[in-house]
């Protein structure tokens, strides 16, 4: 049987070739490491689940940050590599993946996480192992003394900053304010922020309704909210909860009686329910692409993102992925490598301007001091194009006065 004979020969040859190839592969990493080791950044984010859209934007922007640095020759001559892991929006999963990144993949730092509980789990692991963690979750419990460590950094806005900026734009003395709040950490933190800002302005609280996290129907809360007769309704929830709650409030005619305000107005959720529903809703944001008209950094960031992603625009949560990774790489550059203590020191001294103006990490709690945008969702007829979603009402420059004081967070001053 000549045919089977030849087949055998080919397989044997292929096997031999394969063997030598794998031998070469085995040897290669050792050679590489001896010369100059790549810098590895771990990036846990919820690629599956209800925040998948935001997570994908984060990954695209984090990859962009790495690419731009590598194009310029890397950090201190070393190439940078991003190791993306799916945390599935689950604290246990996030802890396991982070541990794996540190123990098995030997990452030099971790950036990422979107939800408050996941961020706490990642911080637990990195803190115990002395690895730098730059969080890009909007919750800021890790900045309080009990969860903080010198390795913990928080690049995202925090509830206190956004609610204060939104309240300044929308509330006046003597106004009546009602709250619809998701019953978990994020909602509670936002409510706390709003109430504090409200008290400072002199607006009156007429009621609060806590709703279960992830609820699909909000109709049962509407009659009571309307019977409170507020001037402003603050809806403090995230993701699809925001889209559903606003849509159903609008169905009940809430907008005819009161203004709807949210702590963070979400780019993807505005896309998901359309312009008519969101029209006139006001909320805070870390980033909006339209900032390019007033900021050179925003224009440069938009241009780089468009070039890398076929003309698409970066979103609010995407920008966090970029600034989180890029600020860390700038600090590594300044520290001349990945020595953890030196990078921590460099991060504390760093002044950076990546997407929207000057930012820096406050010394006591490592919160990034940055500008807060206040956006209003545009009327359909006022939109100049598909992506023209919001009007920028305010862009408050970053200042430490916007933050809770170091002593309030339990840090020694």
């Amino acid at each position: 049987m000549p045919k089977s004979g030849s087949t055998w020969k080919i397989t044997r040859r292929a096997a031999l070739a394969g063997l030598s190839a794998s031998a070469a592969l085995l040897a290669a990493p050792r050679l590489g490491r001896a010369a100059d080791e790549t810098i590895r950044i771990g990036f846990p984010t919820p690629l599956t689940g209800p925040f998948a859209a935001e997570a994908r934007d984060q990954v695209k922007c984090a990859e962009l940050a790495v690419k731009l640095v590598n194009d310029k020759g890397g950090v201190a001559g070393r190439k940078v590599e991003l190791l993306v892991r799916d945390d599935k929006l689950n604290a246990g999963e996030a802890a396991t993946r982070t541990l794996e990144l540190i123990e098995k993949d030997k990452v030099h730092a971790v950036v990422g996480a979107l939800s408050s509980a996941v961020q706490l789990a990642v911080n637990e692991v990195t803190r115990a192992r002395g690895v730098i963690y730059v969080s890009i979750s909007q919750s800021d419990t890790i900045n309080e003394a009990k969860d903080f460590s010198k390795y913990t950094f928080h690049e995202a806005l925090n509830p206190h900053m956004t609610t204060a900026a939104v309240a300044r734009q929308t509330l006046k003395k003597g106004m009546k304010v009602a709250h619809l709040v998701a019953d978990y950490a994020y909602g509670h933190e936002m409510l706390r922020g709003f109430k504090r800002a409200q008290a400072a302005i002199g607006a009156d609280n007429v009621g609060e309704i806590l709703h279960p996290f992830g609820a699909a129907d909000y109709s049962t809360f509407m009659p009571r909210l309307m019977s409170m007769r507020p001037d402003v309704l603050c809806i403090s929830n995230f993701g699809r909860d925001q889209a559903n709650a606003i849509k159903q409030a609008v169905d009940f005619g809430v907008k005819q009686q009161m203004k709807i305000v949210v702590p963070v107005i979400l780019h993807n959720q505005r896309l998901a329910v359309g312009p008519d529903v969101f029209e006139g809703v006001i909320g805070g944001a870390n980033y909006y692409w339209g900032l390019e008209a007033q900021s050179k950094s925003a224009a440069a960031f938009n241009a780089a993102f468009k070039a890398a992603n076929g003309g698409a625009i970066p979103t609010d949560y995407g920008a966090y992925g970029y600034s989180g990774v890029a600020s860390l790489l700038l600090a590594m550059q300044a520290a001349g490598g990945t020595d953890t203590d030196k990078v921590v020191e460099a991060l504390e001294k760093l002044k950076y301007d990546l997407t929207k103006g000057p930012q820096h990490y406050r010394k006591c709690d490592h919160q990034s001091v940055q500008s807060v945008l206040v956006l209003e969702s545009k009327k359909k007829s006022a939109m100049t194009g598909e992506s023209d979603l919001f009007a920028i009402l305010a862009s408050d420059a970053g200042s430490e006065d916007m933050l809770r004081s170091c002593s309030e967070l339990g840090h020694a001053t």
């Binding site: 806590l210 279960p212 049962t220 809360f221 009659p223 009571r224 019977s227 169905d251 005619g253």
Partner: protein
């Protein structure tokens, strides 16, 4: 607490219950008559919503979407029965359960591939935008429409099952399929029609829910849990049970939301636990029924 608020709250509960009734009905009919626990019911609800949205944008009218999506998805349900479920009759109840469980994953992933994993807006039909002044408060016109439509569908279903020859065959088929076959009825066609009807009702629920929530691939998973709770409270396989329990759950959620809003989701599970303790077969279920 004034009376008008309580009445408004009651009405919200009825509107919420109406969608629950339609989805639970499909689940309970299929279980009661075929003995199949359809775990893909929530996914088919979601597929129905997407189909309704797609057909509405294709024809330019919500009404075509509302009419055609349940028919098309119902026909798709028949295909599922013919190709997949039919092979599993007479085997353990776990087999179709596992099959439909797997099917639900395929459907969700399929929709993610075709329409993306982000939510899509489902516009309210222009005729039903806005609120109606009831004298005691404002209520969304669309939700009133949902209550009326569900009432009409229930009436039509009841008339078909109780007053027509087809209904007689269906009811007899559920009671004793062997005798039906002896009498010369093609029982396979009856099963096909029932599964199609169940799936069609899921799709109708999905289209109706679309304009109230935005449409996304995961919207069915919560609905499946709710439909199961309603079915268990009403009694597995009982149509009257599904209607009564659906309204009961809707109104309970609404009333609890008035006094303890953070408990609004838990109340339906509490209700289920109480019913199971007092009447394990459910309000209208038959004791010791085996499918």
């Amino acid at each position: 607490m004034d009376l008008s608020l309580i009445i408004m709250q009651l009405l919200s509960g009825v509107a919420l219950g109406a969608v629950l009734v339609i989805t639970a009905l499909g689940l309970t009919i299929v279980f009661g008559m075929l003995g199949v626990v359809n775990f893909a019911h929530g996914a088919l609800f979601m597929v129905g919503a997407y189909a309704g949205l797609y057909l509405a944008s294709l024809t330019g009218s919500f009404w075509w979407g509302l009419l055609l999506a349940p028919v098309l998805i119902g026909a798709f349900g028949m295909l599922i029965e013919l190709v997949l479920i039919r092979r599993l009759y007479g085997r353990s109840i776990d087999d179709p359960l596992l099959l439909t469980f797997g099917l639900s994953y395929i459907l969700v992933e399929g929709v993610r591939i075709v329409f993306g994993s982000d939510g899509i807006p489902f516009p309210t039909p222009p005729q039903l935008i806005g609120v109606v002044d009831l004298g005691i408060g404002f209520f969304p016109r669309y939700r009133l429409f949902v209550i009326v439509l569900v009432a009409v569908v229930l009436l039509a279903l009841w008339l078909t099952l109780e007053k027509t020859r087809v209904g007689l065959i269906v009811r007899a088929g559920a009671r004793d399929p062997t005798i039906m076959q002896v009498l010369g009825v093609d029982i396979g066609r009856v099963w096909l029609a029932i599964f199609g009807l169940g799936v069609g009702l899921a799709a109708l629920g999905g289209v109706l829910a679309g304009p109230m929530r935005s449409v996304n691939p995961e919207m069915g998973s919560l609905v499946l849990a709710e439909a199961f709770v309603v079915t268990v409270i009403g009694g597995l396989g009982s149509i009257v049970g599904a209607v009564v329990a659906g309204l009961m759950v809707g109104i309970s959620i609404s009333m609890v939301a008035l006094f303890a809003p953070e408990m609004a989701t838990i109340v339906m599970f509490a209700l289920m636990a109480v019913v199971l303790l007092i009447r394990p077969q459910g309000l209208f279920g038959v004791r010791g029924r085996t499918a």
